[in-house]
């Protein structure tokens, strides 16, 4: 029996119409229940159980969980969240499923360690994650470098950082920079020149655009911190000699303390405040700065410059 053309056409139209209608309805339902699709739930939280359930296909499951961790961090970071409750468990599951997934340690530690909104504010968990990675990948010098970085930047533990760099320097084919870092960290841990050296090396030792953009942003922030410190010192010198604060940077120029109008790394002039402090014009545009911000300033999620991420 030949199929009826009329029925075929009617059913095809009905099929498409029902499909479109169901999609539209589902979107409407999602709007009515906004939290229902984005609940912070880990249905199976035990990495060991998940490893067993994977039936030996643990590599693929690790990739899925790593992607989930990236998506979770990205969405929370975008929303400038102050809590990243699932991040550490997701990274733990990922690395137990595939202990050799080094990318999860490198990026995961950078997601965990910095304070919100730049990260989860869990530097100790970041150290644990990286140490776990080192246990399974003892010949990967980058993990020791990451560990030293966390000790240095987040925990300000220069002894721990020196130890991590020293351990890394003993790995075959390790970057020679680790040996220098270990020695310098022990002597000059808290100095700004040390920080600049670390971020410069971080920029040079990777081809990943996001890591390079992050390093450039930190280098810019270091320059601002250095500029603000130097300018406030000049203001103090001016006050000591004239017994009053300068009303603008022109006063400092007239006094011969400053040769030109000071500008931040983005080319904007610094602001001299009535109380003698120095601020940047647009603190949101220069992430990670610790000085030069208005009192009570809360930094938003860092936005990198297009030129940083394009690699130009």
């Amino acid at each position: 029996m030949r199929p009826s053309r009329k029925i075929t056409a009617t059913m095809s139209v009905l099929l498409v119409a029902c499909m479109l209608a169901s999609v539209l309805l589902l979107r409407r339902l999602d709007r009515l229940r906004p939290d229902s699709t984005l609940q912070e739930v880990l249905y199976i939280s035990s990495p060991k159980v998940l490893k067993r359930l994977s039936l030996g296909y643990d590599g693929l499951l690790a990739d899925i969980y790593w992607t989930r961790a990236v998506q979770y961090f990205g969405s929370k970071h975008f929303a400038a969240a102050s809590h990243y409750d699932l991040l550490a468990p997701l990274l733990e599951i990922t690395t137990v499923l595939d202990p050799h997934l080094t990318v999860a340690y490198e990026f995961g530690a950078n997601f965990l360690a910095p304070k919100p909104p730049n990260g989860a504010g869990l530097p100790k968990r970041a150290v644990e994650l990286t140490e776990y990675g080192i246990r399974y990948n003892p010949d990967d010098w980058r993990l020791y470098n990451d560990l030293g970085f966390i000790y240095y930047t987040e925990l300000k533990d220069y002894t721990g950082a020196a130890d991590a760099f020293a351990r890394g320097s003993r790995v075959p084919n390790a970057h020679p920079f680790l040996r220098i870092m270990a020695a310098r960290m022990a002597q000059h841990g808290g100095e700004i020149g040390m920080a600049r050296m670390m971020w410069t090396t971080a920029y040079q030792s990777t081809k990943d655009r996001s890591i390079q953009a992050n390093a450039l942003a930190h280098l810019r922030a270091l320059r601002v911190d250095e500029d603000v410190t130097a300018l406030e010192k000049l203001v103090s010198t001016y006050k000591d000699s004239t017994s009053h604060l300068p009303s603008s940077f022109y006063d400092l120029q007239s006094a011969g303390l400053l040769s030109a109008m000071p500008v931040d790394p983005l080319g904007h002039t610094y602001k001299l405040m009535p109380d003698g402090t120095v601020q940047v014009r647009d603190p949101d545009a220069i992430p990670f700065i610790e000085k030069g911000t208005p009192p009570g300033y809360v930094a938003p999620s860092p936005k990198f410059l297009p030129s940083d991420t394009s690699g130009s």
């Binding site: 030996g56 296909y57 595939d98 990318v103």
Partner: protein
């Protein structure tokens, strides 16, 4: 090879193709190309890993599903359609029928794996832009997956020789799952005491050890595979498949087909 076995094997292969078994290649192509294109946008630093992990896992799972669902019907379908009586009324031995069916399905799976392997390497070339020497280990992983198919096919045939298709599917799939835990089972046996120890040890050696045939994660990380492992796995898979096939022949030889 015995010409009668060859004839039954080629017929089994043709029947599988007629049953559109190779249509799974379309699903595989969509899956692997989708992963190759999308993963770079939603994740960080795992484009190559996902292509290898997802590609080889899909090759393995698709093949296991085909091995089980085609394998369980190889004997029962012939009985239901009464074509078995036509075959056995000719100068064909029962063991030749079973062995021919085994080679026919194994051949189907090898052809299927060959086309999927081309897909995996094409996706790998797309994400990496070039091949490297470590990619050669993926071929070893694919070879181990084929060895896994031989074991699963022989088991499906064994169960199909004495039980209904539904029960045979349940048995074969259960053994696939238990086989994936074989190393855990041996660990449990080592810890157990008395009669439990002997029972667990017997069970651990009776179920197929599929975990040693799964090297997907290690080749994804470009880790080399020891020659000794390749030789041992080959011998083990051939011996285990041979054992299951002998069991299938023994049962089928004594089965009352009237």
């Amino acid at each position: 090879m015995n010409p009668r076995i060859l004839y039954i094997a080629s017929n089994t292969f043709r029947e599988a193709v007629r049953d559109r078994v190779l249509y799974n290649l379309i699903a595989f192509a969509v899956l692997i190309s989708g992963a190759a294109i999308l993963v770079g946008q939603i994740s960080i630093g795992i484009e190559r890993l996902v292509v290898v992990n997802l590609g080889l896992t899909a090759v393995s799972l698709f093949g296991v599903v085909i091995a089980i669902f085609i394998g369980i019907g190889l004997v029962s379908k012939e009985i239901d359609k009464r074509t078995l009586y036509t075959v056995l009324s000719r100068p064909v031995q029962r063991w030749e029928f079973i062995v021919g069916k085994f080679f026919g399905l194994a051949g189907t799976l090898v052809v299927n794996t060959f086309f999927m392997a081309i897909g995996v390497f094409a996706a790998l070339l797309y994400v990496s832009r070039h091949f490297q020497s470590a990619d050669g280990w993926i071929l070893v992983a694919l070879y181990f997956i084929v060895l896994e198919f031989l074991i699963i096919t022989s088991l499906a045939l064994l169960f199909s020789s004495f039980s209904s298709p539904l029960l045979a599917a349940v048995f074969a799939f259960s053994l696939f799952v238990i086989g994936s835990f074989a190393e855990d089972l041996r660990g449990f046996a080592a810890m157990a005491q008395g009669a439990t120890h002997w029972l667990a040890t017997t069970a651990a050696y009776l179920v197929p050890n599929l975990s040693s045939l799964n090297i997907i994660t290690s080749v994804a990380h470009e880790q080399p595979v020891a020659t000794q492992l390749i030789v041992s796995n080959t011998l083990y898979a051939l011996l285990y498949a041979g054992m299951a096939l002998c069991g299938a022949v023994l049962i089928f030889e004594h089965r009352n087909l009237k």
